[in-house]
């Protein structure tokens, strides 16, 4: 499905997708909104996600002459689509195909936040982990080996403190490098137990047969094994309806 036109973005209410689109995900209470505000300043716009009663905040910033559209996703603990917010966040990352996704994590509570990060990484490799509130962590005498974490995850890790502005330049630069393709993350997939992997092994070829060989088919297969029908609804809604003619060629 790679390389097809970005029509799905329209379905998320984003018309001006000429510039690269970056999603901002994260647990609640991680200072995600502070990061969003710090990056976009007054250059933002709020509305609702189309057809949903959930607020969508969108903003723009410029870095190195490049305009970037930043979409603030609802704060969630997980992307397993147990709530409208989780479904929106997941759908945007999976169907909206942002050029990069920043996952904001709380440095004082990293383990809990890594759960969401791992879920995002399963959907797309184009992820930057921004560990916020490092000033708070310092005060609480918490030390984090960022380099080691980046190496283990296979994605860039940027420590930051949105309140003081620390790390935001590096964050913008990292986003830029990812958009331009200079930075190619290579996260290792998470291996599940024998039974799940066995089932995955059987169903993956069938999915690839329909959707083509895609890095995300593993994620899709997992959701189907979980019996998550909202993913199928999503495919119907974001990929198959409007405009069907062009996408039909890609799929059939």
């Amino acid at each position: 499905m790679k390389g097809q036109p970005l029509q799905p973005l329209l379905r998320f209410g984003i018309e001006d997708a000429d510039s690269p689109v970056v999603a901002l995900a994260g647990n609640p209470n991680t200072g995600k909104t502070t990061i969003f505000n710090a990056l976009t300043g007054l250059n933002q716009h709020t509305g609702n996600w189309p057809g949903k009663t959930v607020v969508q905040a969108r903003g723009k910033y410029c870095y190195g002459g490049q305009e970037v559209i930043l979409v603030d996703l609802p704060g969630t603990y997980s992307l397993l689509a147990n709530s409208v917010e989780e479904q929106i966040a997941r759908d945007f990352i999976y169907f909206g195909r942002p050029d990069a996704t920043i996952v904001v994590a709380d440095a004082t509570c990293l383990e809990r936040n890594l759960n969401l990060l791992l879920q995002v990484v399963e959907i797309t490799p184009l992820v930057i982990l921004c560990i916020n509130l490092i000033d708070e962590a310092r005060r609480k005498l918490i030390k984090i080996d960022f380099a080691r974490l980046a190496e283990r995850l296979g994605i860039p890790v940027v420590p930051a403190s949105a309140r003081t502005g620390e790390g935001l330049e590096l964050l913008k630069k990292t986003v830029q490098d990812m958009i331009s393709g200079k930075l190619k993350p290579s996260p290792k997939p998470i291996i599940y137990d024998g039974e799940v992997e066995g089932a995955l092994h059987q169903i993956l070829p069938e999915i690839k047969g329909i959707l083509g060989d895609d890095a995300t088919s593993r994620w899709l297969a997992l959701r189907l094994l979980e019996g998550d029908e909202t993913v199928l609804e999503g495919i119907q809604h974001y990929l198959l309806t409007d405009p069907p003619a062009r996408l039909e060629e890609v799929f059939v």
């Binding site: 890594l114 918490i142 984090i144």
Partner: protein, 459 residues
């Protein structure tokens, strides 16, 4: 295409032998991975002193939990009431001086009387009242509220109060949406989206109006200030604070009672699952909080009030100055409401002002004042003492003030909130109910208070 996908889903279901099993394994594996990663890269030298839990030991404790909430409420109200008094008077003095100059200008230009009346005595005066009565308390209350919000105190309120909401058959997050209502009921109603169960969300929406929003806080504060704060010299403002705090607590109590009634009648059901994070306390960025609350909230609400107050001022002036059968339209209308108003310990003008104030609660007091002013002699209106004189001259007693506060707390939501309720519920039935319930309670309580006061001979 979708048939293919459906087939794959079917196949997936056959393979997974029970979906909970796969979901369990996936989630457990992810957390296991997160745990091992965190163990590898996070180094905590020694556990630092945990301020959060020290603070929570006080703010959510059995002994101090509720008293500290009440104390904080009283403190915020006290700062607002005592801090707003002086700037309110200065603003009023300034704005009414400007009115004088404007009037002279109109005289100089030989403008017709009706134009002067409509624009100066109507539009300008209503605006001046809205600004001088509302701006100072809002400019103090909003930043204080935002500070508490930024600190992370609101989830603690929800934590402390949840048992009551649970007994009322409501969602624990209703405590949060209720807190948002203090800022603006329309915002509170929108905030109810965080409650997923439709039944509990409706309960939260229908009861949000029982906490006074910023449009009504100035009314409550002005009323208690006029009849308690200004009346008694010392300790008066303490009394005024206690009265307003008492009304807020009363509003919360009514919220719970009505929630309970709704959940055992129209909106039957069992409380849904509830998990609430108590995030770490974060030192708020004071300057940013002030800027944000002034721009995002204070000026936003003020602007909304101004937009409504200008035409409302013109309408009120016109009603007071268009005569039919020797009486102004306003007097006709006020006369119509007079019996009901009297029975409720108010008067026809007050009830009319509440109805005309439907677009925004902020303009209720200005309309009352303008009606009194246009009917009687002109007064120099400089701040609260003069206001008190005007109200006394129109037959007010402290019972009138009390009932005015009660009805301000308990009447139909403002137009914006009603439209928001309709938008959120997609139903005129629930919107009507949202207006009907508080109004019925307000009328009943005011009636009881008035009759009670009459019985003991105070009114």
């Amino acid at each position: 295409m979708s048939a293919d996908l459906g087939r794959i889903l079917q196949r997936a279901q056959d393979l997974s032998c029970g979906q909970d099993a796969v979901r369990d394994k996936v989630v457990a594996r992810l957390y296991q991975e997160a745990e091992s990663l965190a163990r590898e890269v996070v180094l905590t030298e020694k556990p630092a002193r945990d301020w959060d839990s020290t603070i929570d030991d006080i703010l959510t404790s059995k002994r101090y939990g509720y008293p500290s909430m009440l104390a904080l409420l009283a403190l915020v109200l006290w700062l607002t009431i005592s801090g707003a008094n002086m700037p309110s008077q200065l603003l009023a003095r300034f704005l009414f001086a400007v009115e004088g100059w404007l009037s002279s200008l109109f005289l100089l230009l030989r403008a017709p009387d009706w134009l002067h009346g409509l624009l100066i005595l109507g539009v300008y005066r209503c605006l001046a009242w809205v600004v001088s009565v509302m701006l100072p308390p809002m400019a103090i209350f909003f930043p204080l509220f935002t500070l508490l919000e930024d600190l992370g105190y609101l989830p603690r309120v929800a934590f402390n109060l949840d048992a009551f909401f649970q007994k009322a058959g409501a969602h624990g997050k209703q405590a949060l949406t209720m807190s948002m209502g203090f800022g603006c009921n329309a915002a509170g109603v929108i905030a109810c989206r965080i409650i997923e169960s439709p039944r509990e969300r409706l309960i939260a929406i229908l009861t949000n109006n029982f906490v006074p929003c910023n449009g009504r806080f100035p009314t409550l504060i002005a009323m208690s200030n006029i009849f308690l704060g200004a009346a008694a010299l010392n300790g008066g403002s303490i009394l005024a604070v206690l009265l307003v705090a008492g009304l807020v607590v009363g509003g919360i109590a009514i919220t719970l009672v009505v929630s309970r009634l709704l959940s055992s009648t129209l909106l039957k059901g069992i409380p849904s699952h509830f998990a609430l994070e108590l995030p770490p306390y974060r030192p708020p960025q004071v300057l940013q909080v002030i800027v944000r609350s002034v721009f995002d909230r204070t000026l936003f609400v003020l602007w909304r009030a101004v937009k409504v107050a200008a035409p409302a001022g013109a309408v009120a002036w016109a009603l007071a100055n268009i005569y039919v059968d020797g009486l102004s339209l306003l007097s006709h209308a006020a006369g119509f409401f007079e019996p009901l108003g009297r029975a409720m310990g108010l008067d026809g003008v007050i009830l009319l002002a509440f109805i005309l104030g439907l677009p925004a609660n902020e303009i209720v007091i200005p309309i009352i004042l303008m009606s009194y002013l246009s009917a009687g002699a002109m007064l120099e209106l400089e701040g609260l003492p003069a206001l008190r004189e005007l109200l006394l001259a129109n037959g007010w007693t402290w019972v009138t003030a009390l009932n005015m506060m009660l009805f301000s707390l308990l009447h139909f939501p403002c137009g914006t909130t009603l439209l928001t309720i309709h938008k959120e519920t997609q139903s005129w039935k629930w919107t009507a109910l949202a207006a009907l319930i508080p109004t019925a309670i307000g009328v009943a309580l005011c009636f009881l208070a008035a009759q009670g006061a009459r019985l003991v001979g105070l009114f």
